[in-house]
């Protein structure tokens, strides 16, 4: 850990060296993957032309494909991945349970159910689906918090209640799909899988504003996690307003998950896996919030690249890919939790 200090006005900041190094490395790998994903496709563009296109130069065709078609898609992937990674990190740290991430405890399921209602019942536009998903995530979060709350919220109860709420929401979604017109149902299913297909600047702009606001908020609130991790009594004894700090952290995490889901659908397992990978990379001394965001971004961009190219010319939704990677990890967590008898 490094400490930066200025004497007047008295300021001291903790900087975790390894977390900085890991984040920088993840960003470097992430940018390489990002550039690669802009380069490959039905119309391959050499990396040099991609970089020129990003800078605003290059040939007209390449510039159009890079800037208008591929860049917004890749940027949406970066933003969504970062939002899911950070959201998962906060959830898991607050609940002290790796299973308590927004994709498991029903936040994304709430967004999905609301989005399907918007598509199937209301016949909504893309913008309306986004708003529906945001509202669904927040409503699901409020319901889960209220149901799990009994003199505070423990991680274990949050996971159990969340899984129950997820099951209810999935049944709502399934029911609506069976009643839907074929066209609506297809639209809904693609959305439900989590896809970056046809994401344009109209997706990038609102998502980037939301992420730009929520990430600093999460970082500022993150310092409460160091006390909250010691348990409610110890945290209170250390002068933390436990309920308020926890509610603010969870609200921020819910907002991040909602923004991510609204932009790309419930991309499976990113919020679950990214913080765990980041934590293993940086060790236990850091809160690993930014590294989790960077891991999430890299994960989504890489998974989207693979989903686009692996079965080319067939393009798979990115959510299928993250699910293929994430599901075995979830099983591993469940088996380990069962063996240790700790619930995670």
């Amino acid at each position: 850990m490094w400490v930066l200090r200025w004497p007047r006005p008295e300021v001291s900041l903790r900087v975790h060296g390894r977390a900085v190094a890991v984040t920088a490395a993840l960003l470097a790998v992430g940018f390489a993957t990002f550039a690669w994903s802009l380069s490959v496709g039905d119309f391959p563009i050499p990396i040099g032309d991609v970089l020129a296109g990003l800078a605003g130069g290059g040939s007209e065709d390449a510039g159009f494909i890079v800037r208008t078609l591929r860049l917004p898609r890749a940027l949406t992937g970066v933003l969504v991945g970062a939002a899911f990674g950070l959201s998962g990190a906060i959830f898991q740290r607050v609940a002290r349970n790796p299973l308590a991430s927004p994709d498991i405890v029903g936040i994304e399921a709430g967004a999905a159910a609301a989005a399907v209602v918007t598509i199937v019942v209301l016949g909504g536009s893309t913008a309306q689906i986004t708003i529906g998903a945001l509202a669904g995530a927040v409503l699901a979060a409020v319901a889960i918090y209220a149901l799990a709350h009994r003199r505070g919220v423990t991680g274990h109860r949050l996971v159990l209640v969340g899984i129950g709420v997820t099951a209810v929401l999935h049944s709502v979604t399934s029911y609506l799909l069976t009643r839907a017109e074929v066209h609506d149902a297809q639209r809904a299913v693609v959305w439900l899988t989590g896809s970056l297909h046809a994401r344009g600047w109209e997706h990038v702009r609102p998502t980037s504003v939301a992420v730009a606001v929520l990430v600093p908020v999460a970082m500022a609130l993150g310092r409460h996690l160091r006390a909250l991790e010691l348990g409610d009594d110890a945290a209170r004894g250390l002068g933390t307003r436990v309920e308020g700090a926890r509610a603010a952290l969870l609200l921020t995490a819910v907002a991040l998950a909602a923004v991510g889901t609204a932009a790309a659908g419930p991309v499976a397992f990113v919020a679950l896996v990214a913080p765990q990978v980041a934590r293993r990379l940086v060790g236990h001394r850091s809160l690993a919030l930014l590294p989790s965001a960077a891991t999430g971004a890299l994960l989504v961009v890489a998974a989207d690249l693979a989903a686009r190219r692996l079965l080319s010319p067939v393009e798979l939704p990115v959510g299928i890919f993250t699910a293929v990677l994430g599901a075995p990890y979830l099983l591993h967590l469940l088996v380990r939790a069962n063996r240790a008898g700790t619930g995670g």
Binding site: V3, W6, S12, R14, R241
Partner: protein, 286 residues
């Protein structure tokens, strides 16, 4: 970047003068309850400043509840807990945490955390968004590690430590907090006898050296009698007796509070009351 080194400081200049004749920490007619379950009614207690107070009583007599009430972890249903002349629930949380530290019963450290990291978290009430790790924080943590003899464990993982070492580390966290009042809920539970004595010696030393007020909940009556300046005996949520151990401990009190038939004699080492349980076969007929 500017790094300063200062002499280790163990306690902040947090000593505020209480009104004459009144203890810094006291409960006035406090009614303590969990949800609808009332544990203790109408509790009045003054914690003597600069002394070691030990609360004893049978299981479920409300002694931990009283400590939680005094530490602001539980809001009294009626009455109040007063710190430095103010209702403790009206004071800002951080301000309370700079005057009063609480070590809960059986705290659980996050997995994989190192000793230095854990003890460092004791500095939380002195930190803020732009004051994340001041030189005072560093000095206080170093001093706390030194005072508890855990400096050489600083880089070890808390999970790897023995029960006795772990308890020392938690006490170091409470010390790093730099409070002049220190409350500990059964700090010796699950430790073997040698480590129990070790922890209590440490607390006695901290009390004598820095004049810290220490409040403990303990199970063992003999250890309580040895280390307490002020002994508080509780039964069914009420304070039955309080005062110096020699005045409080009697055969009738032990029978009343613990339901234990015991013989009391002076401790051959310290002269404090020694409670010797009398087995059924040796009881005198009245």
């Amino acid at each position: 970047m500017h790094v300063t080194t200062t002499e280790p400081v163990l306690h902040e200049p947090a000593v505020r003068v209480a009104p004459a004749g009144q203890a810094r920490l006291r409960a006035e007619g406090a009614c303590l309850a969990y949800d609808d379950r009332v544990i203790a009614r109408d509790l009045d207690i003054e914690i003597p400043d600069g002394r070691i107070t030990v609360i004893v009583g049978a299981n479920a007599c409300g002694k931990s509840t009283l400590l939680r009430g005094l530490a602001r972890l539980l809001r009294p249903r009626a009455g109040s807990v007063v710190l430095d002349g103010h209702d403790i629930h009206r004071l800002p949380t951080k301000q309370v945490a700079r005057s009063l530290g609480i070590l809960p019963q059986q705290p659980v450290a996050p997995g994989g955390i190192t000793v230095a990291d854990l003890v460092g978290r004791g500095r939380t009430p002195h930190q803020g968004l732009l004051r994340q790790w001041s030189s005072d924080d560093e000095a206080a943590v170093d001093a706390a590690l030194a005072a508890t003899g855990t400096a050489e464990l600083a880089d070890r993982c808390v999970d790897e430590l023995s029960g006795g070492q772990r308890q020392r580390v938690w006490i170091a966290l409470a010390l790093a907090q730099g409070t002049s009042l220190l409350l500990l809920d059964e700090p010796t539970t699950f430790l073997d006898l040698a480590h129990q004595v070790d922890v209590l010696d440490l607390l006695a030393e901290l009390n004598q050296r820095d004049g810290r007020t220490v409040v403990l909940v303990l199970h063992d009556l003999n250890l309580a009698s040895r280390y307490a300046d002020h002994l508080v005996a509780m039964k069914d949520g009420a304070i039955v007796a309080e005062g110096p151990p020699a005045e409080v401990i009697s055969e009738s009190l032990v029978a009343d509070v613990f339901g234990l038939h015991a013989h009391i004699c002076p401790d051959p080492v310290t002269g404090t009351p020694l409670v010797i349980p009398v087995p059924a076969g040796h009881r005198r007929r009245p």
